[in-house]
C-alpha cells in the first residue's frame, strides 16, 4: 500500500508553490515513515527546479481548472480521489508546516476508509471551540470536520461514493446550500462545509471521525479561536512572537509547537524559515 500526503497548489494572490515547498521540507525533516508529498497544479503554474526535488509527484489538475476564475482557489478540492498517486492519502492544505513526527497516526488509519480531523487546537494546546468561523456548522449541526488534514483510502468503495457526492455538491453548491443548509449559510464554497455536508448526507460521521483518539489534528491559527480577550486582526503573527530556530523548531509566543501547524496567514512563512529548512535538509 503506497502512502503519502497530497495538496492542491494553485497560485492566486499568494505564492502557494513556495508554501508547498516549505511544507514538503517540513515533512521531510520531521517524518520518519511517510515522507512523500505530491502536489496538483494547474497548467499555468511554473515550479522552480529547486522546488521540484521536494515533491514526489507533480500532477496537473484534471477535468479543467474549476478555480480558474476564482481568487480563493478551493473549487478543485473534489478531485483528490482522482489525482492522488497513493493508495492511502492524507490531504493537506499548502499553508501548513509539520513540527513533529506523526507517523503513529498512520497506524490508526490502517483499515479505515476515511479519517477526518474533527478537533483542532490553539497554539497553546487548548481544544478549539469555534463559534466565530463555524456558524454554518453550528446552525446546521454539521459534523465538525476539517479538510486540511483528511485521510482516505482510495481502494474503498465508501471513499469513492463519498468523493462522488462531494463532486456533486461542489458542482451544485447553490442548490445544495438552499436545500440542505439553514441560515446563516455560507454563500462561498468551502471544502470543509461541503465535506461535512457529504458526511452528514451519507450518515457516516461515526465511520469517519475517530472519537477515542485526539488525532488526526493540527494547530489552527485563526485569530478568533485562540481564546484571546483582545480584539486582534487576522494577521495573528503581528500580535505574538514567532520563533523558528536553526533546528526548525517552531515556537509561538511561549509555546513550542508539536502538531502540524496550519498558519493561514501567508506572511507567516518567511524566507529565513525556508533557508533554515533547506539548511537542515542540506539543499
Amino acid at each position: 500500500m503506497s502512502k503519502g500526503y497530497f495538496a492542491i497548489v494553485q497560485n492566486g494572490t499568494h505564492d502557494y508553490v513556495r508554501m508547498a515547498y516549505a511544507l514538503a521540507m517540513s515533512i521531510a525533516s520531521t517524518q520518519k515513515g511517510v515522507r512523500k508529498l505530491s502536489i496538483a497544479v494547474d497548467k499555468n503554474t511554473t515550479i522552480p527546479d529547486k522546488y521540484k526535488i521536494m515533491f514526489d509527484n507533480i500532477v496537473e489538475i484534471p477535468f479543467n481548472d474549476d478555480a480558474e476564475l476564482e481568487d480563493w482557489k478551493v473549487h478543485n478540492k473534489w478531485k483528490y480521489y482522482h489525482m492522488t498517486p497513493y493508495d492511502e492519502t492524507v490531504i493537506l492544505d499548502a499553508d501548513m508546516l509539520f513540527t513533529n513526527d506523526v507517523g503513529h497516526w498512520w497506524n490508526s488509519f490502517a483499515d479505515r476508509n476515511m479519517t477526518a480531523t474533527s478537533d483542532v487546537f490553539t497554539y497553546r494546546g487548548d481544544k478549539v471551540n469555534d463559534k466565530h468561523y463555524r456558524k454554518t456548522f453550528l446552525t446546521n449541526n454539521l459534523p465538525n470536520i476539517y479538510s486540511a488534514f483528511f485521510h482516505f483510502n482510495k481502494k474503498s468503495d465508501l471513499t469513492e461514493e463519498f468523493f462522488k457526492l462531494v463532486e456533486y455538491i461542489f458542482r451544485n453548491y447553490n442548490t445544495f446550500k438552499e436545500d440542505f443548509l439553514n441560515p446563516p449559510r455560507q454563500n462561498w464554497i468551502s471544502a470543509d462545509v461541503i465535506y461535512a455536508m457529504a458526511i452528514k448526507i451519507l450518515d457516516i460521521e461515526n465511520e469517519v471521525i475517530v472519537k477515542n483518539l485526539n488525532y488526526p489534528t493540527f494547530v489552527h491559527m485563526k485569530t478568533n479561536v485562540q481564546n484571546w480577550q483582545a480584539n486582534y486582526s487576522e494577521e495573528w503573527n503581528k500580535h505574538i512572537g514567532v520563533y523558528f530556530n536553526d533546528n526548525c523548531e517552531l515556537t509561538i509566543g511561549n509555546f513550542k509547537q508539536t502538531l502540524p501547524f496550519h498558519y493561514h496567514n501567508k506572511d507567516f512563512l518567511t524566507d529565513s524559515m525556508i533557508v533554515k529548512l533547506e539548511k537542515k535538509l542540506g539543499i
Binding site: R124, N227, W228
Partner: protein, 294 residues
C-alpha cells in the same frame, strides 16, 4: 518516608495570617489522616500568635513551627473585603520557592492558609505515584460566574496554575522545579515581560504557572498532574464569609454577577474552599477555631 503539611503565615499590618493558619490547622487535624503540620512563619507573626492563643492550643494543632526572616518587600497587593472595601497592603507570603528547603518532610502537601480544608480528599495525594501535583482549574462557588484572569497568566500566556495547594515528593526533579521558581522570583521583571503579565504584584500562582509551563517543555502537556481533585473551589474577594454554623460548614454571601453588590447566600458542607476575602477570614478565624477546637 515522612509526610506532612506545610503552611505559610506572614502577617501584614491588617491581616493576621498566623491566626488564619491556626484556624485551618484545626480543620486539617479534624479532617485529614496525614495531618502533621509545620508552620513557616516569622518572629513577629509567631509572637503575635503566642500572645493571642495559649501554647496549649497552638501546639495542639501546629506540630512544628519554623521561623524564617520576613524580608521587607515592595510587593503591594489589592485585598478586597467585598465589593465595598479594597485595601492596598503588602503581600509577604511569596516564599513558596523555599518549600523544598524549609519542609522537614520527604513528602509535603503545601496548603495556603486561606484554603479551608473540610474533607479528606487531599489525603490521596500521598498514595499517588506523582512527585509533583498541582491544579490549573479552580471553580467559583457561584457556578455562573468565572473570572478570565484565572484561565491564563496573560492574554497570550500559559494556563494559570494555583499555588494554593500542591504536593511534592523530594527528589532531583522537584528540587529543580523549586530552583526554577526561585529563578523566576529573582528575575521577576524579566519573566513578567516575557510572559506579558501586567500585574505589578508578584504572585506565587504566576511563578508556579510559568514553572509548570517550562517543566511541560513549553507546551500544554500534562507532565505535571492534578492533585487528587479535578479542581479547587473558591470564593472571590468581593464575596463574604459570614458564619461557621457547625463543623466543616461555612456560610457565604456571594456577589451576584448580574446585580453587583447584591448577594446570594450559600452554605457549604465538607467542601474545601479557597477564601480570597482575607478580611472575612480574619474575622471568622476565631469562630472556626472555637467550633473545631473540641
Amino acid at each position: 518516608m515522612s509526610r506532612g503539611i506545610l503552611l505559610f503565615a506572614h502577617n501584614n499590618r491588617q491581616i493576621d495570617y498566623g491566626k488564619i493558619a491556626l484556624a485551618n490547622s484545626c480543620l486539617i487535624k479534624n479532617n485529614m489522616k496525614n495531618n502533621h503540620i509545620t508552620l513557616i512563619t516569622d518572629t513577629g507573626t509567631k509572637e503575635w500568635l503566642s500572645k493571642s492563643f495559649s501554647d496549649e492550643v497552638v501546639s495542639k494543632y501546629i506540630d512544628n513551627i519554623v521561623v524564617t526572616k520576613r524580608r521587607q518587600l515592595n510587593n503591594p497587593k489589592r485585598f478586597y473585603d467585598t465589593r465595598y472595601t479594597k485595601v492596598n497592603e503588602t503581600f509577604y507570603n511569596i516564599n513558596r520557592d523555599e518549600c523544598y528547603q524549609l519542609s522537614p518532610y520527604d513528602e509535603t502537601l503545601v496548603i495556603d492558609v486561606d484554603y479551608l480544608i473540610c474533607n479528606n480528599l487531599l489525603d490521596q495525594c500521598w498514595d499517588l505515584n506523582y512527585d509533583l501535583q498541582i491544579n490549573s482549574e479552580s471553580r467559583d462557588l457561584f457556578s455562573e460566574r468565572s473570572f478570565e484572569e484565572f484561565d491564563y497568566v496573560s492574554d497570550q500566556g500559559p494556563k494559570f496554575y494555583w499555588a494554593t495547594a500542591f504536593f511534592f515528593r523530594k527528589n532531583k526533579e522537584t528540587e529543580l522545579f523549586f530552583n526554577l521558581i526561585k529563578d523566576i522570583k529573582i528575575n521577576w521583571n524579566y519573566y513578567k515581560l516575557l510572559y506579558s503579565i501586567n500585574s505589578q504584584t508578584y504572585r506565587n500562582d504566576f511563578a508556579f504557572s510559568i514553572a509548570v509551563h517550562m517543566f511541560n517543555g513549553m507546551t500544554s502537556n500534562k507532565f505535571i498532574p492534578n492533585l487528587p481533585l479535578p479542581f479547587l473551589q473558591h470564593i472571590h474577594g468581593i464575596d463574604d464569609l459570614i458564619d461557621v454554623p457547625d463543623k466543616n460548614s461555612f456560610l457565604f454571601l456571594l456577589d451576584k454577577p448580574n446585580e453587583p453588590g447584591k448577594y446570594l447566600a450559600c452554605k457549604t458542607k465538607n467542601t474545601n474552599v479557597h477564601v480570597m476575602n482575607k478580611f472575612a477570614l480574619n474575622r471568622l478565624a476565631d469562630k472556626i477555631i472555637e467550633v473545631h477546637n473540641v
